[in-house]
Amino acid sequence: MKPILEVQSLSKQYKLGGKRIRRTENFRELLQRALVSPVRAIAGRKAVESTKEELYTFWALKEVSVNVNQGDVIGIIGRNGAGKSTLLKILSRITSPTEGEVIVRGRLASLLEVGTGFHPELTGRENIFLNGAILGMRKAEITRRFDQIVAFAEVEECLGTPVKRYSGGMYVRLAFAVAAHLDPEILVVDEVLAVGDLLFQKKCLGKMGEVSRGGRTVLFVSHNMAAIENLCTRGIVLHQGKLHYDGSAKDAIQTISTAFPR
């Protein structure tokens, strides 16, 4: 059987902003240099520099190849800036790769942030529908799971209240509840479990475990090594955009703590 997800020498290059360094000057810069420089010269100040310089870029991901089989629950770990989020963003089609390709063989849903698309003015009930649709659920699916979502979030009494009046805890509970009832073949999750109080975090982890035992394919980024060890059947270590290790979750955690100590 073919892998459900094939990542083939995937690379992503970002252009660093701030200094606005480009290969070619645009019209405004040309004009600015032509007009402002003489004035500055008279004032005895430095001329406006030409921006015709080498493009300043960096590779957030460099030639990463991974095959994911159906039912794999993969923990992706690495220090800040390792390329974890970039990888998830490419998989969820938010951004396109610079080189390489990904073959996806199944319905993929991603959860990079809790509560994406929640609108503060809308009520809890309305936000369940809106957020569900944004995450890729059909209206019929949301209607079917509505009661489960509400029960999971424990917000029954406040369904008619705009979520801007919710407490922080209620808000994230509702947001996570909608996402937890997504039913894709492949689920991509960024560090989103660190929400709510300890009790709710436990509930979230329980839900994640349930999802992964159900034969679903899960890619999961977290800094919570205990969660990774508990949930994942496989671990991937990224370092400075490159694939550093691919093996069991336990060994991956071992690798990261010995190879890249803080």
């Binding site: 951004t95 063989r105 994406t116 309305e126 944004i134």
Partner: protein
């Protein structure tokens, strides 16, 4: 799992075909986005949906006083107030739609950078919601027609065509401007000014025949000129130049197609630079 679904994610560069199939798959989301915009537009306001008709109505009163009473601009037949309102209804729709859709992507930054769905729905959703306002303001117009006892003609059947023209023009401009706004926030400042000037180059407060014949073709290049002339033809039975209207509708269609293509070309960089 016997999913036959297969999708390849590759680097994207240059012009891309428009993915109608995907837009169709996500159609429910477009409905939700329109519904969201309708719900939140007048939340926590006292007057609610009345705002939709107050804007063109008050503009009509002021313009009637300034241009009709003081400057003696005449309509092309019907009472000036009816004439002005028939132009202001589509114009208000267009100007609000362009302004809101131009800013729609940058006000939905979080959506663009955290979740995937056809991006095109963001500016289009903003426009869809405003159609409700257009219908409300046409409701008031119907009441005004009764008040002035101005007869309805069979030209009314053309109204959907000109509504479509207004939607296509707004969508085309909105798609291009929203995409540009992602890289260049200049758009945010330029649009209100452009819309303000647009009111004067479009025959909203003066009849089209005030424009000298040799400038008519140029006027036809303005997609909203045809819409405004057409609305008056359909609602008030005014004389209309089909040449100008046809040209103008053609420009609307062109603008819409160009908008789709330009947006599609630029959309894969949105998440990286927004």
């Amino acid at each position: 799992m016997s999913s036959t679904f297969e999708l390849t994610l590759r680097p994207r560069k240059g012009w891309q075909p428009i993915d109608f199939k995907e837009a169709y798959l996500y159609r429910e989301l477009l409905v939700f986005l329109v519904w969201r915009d309708i719900k939140i537009r007048y939340r926590q306001t006292l007057l609610g949906g009345l705002w939709a008709i107050l804007q063109p109505f008050i503009a009509m009163l002021i313009f009637s006083f300034i241009f009709n009473r003081l400057a003696h601009v005449q309509s092309d037949g019907p009472p000036y107030k009816l004439f002005a309102y028939a132009g202001l209804a589509p114009w208000t729709f267009f100007s609000t739609a362009v302004t809101q859709s131009a800013n729609s992507l940058i006000t939905s930054q979080q959506l663009v950078s955290k979740v995937y769905f056809p991006r095109i729905f963001i500016p289009l959703g903003a426009i869809g919601a405003l159609l409700v306002d257009l219908f409300l303001s046409l409701g008031l117009f119907a009441a005004m027609m009764l008040y002035y006892r101005w007869p309805v003609t069979s030209a009314l059947f053309w109204l959907p065509v000109f509504m479509l023209g207004a939607v296509l023009a707004a969508a085309g401009a909105g798609l291009i401007l929203s995409a540009l706004n992602v890289s260049f926030r200049d758009v945010k400042y330029a649009v209100p000014f452009m819309v303000q000037m647009g009111l004067f180059v479009t025959p909203v407060i003066y009849p089209a025949h005030y424009v000298p014949a040799r400038w008519r073709a140029l006027m036809g290049l303005n997609p909203m000129a045809g819409v405004v002339i057409g609305f008056r033809h359909a609602l008030l039975g005014s004389q209309a130049s089909w040449g100008v209207m046809g040209l103008s509708l053609g420009v609307s269609v062109f603008l819409f197609v160009a908008g789709l293509l330009i947006f599609r070309r630029m959309e894969n960089r949105f998440a990286d630079i927004i």
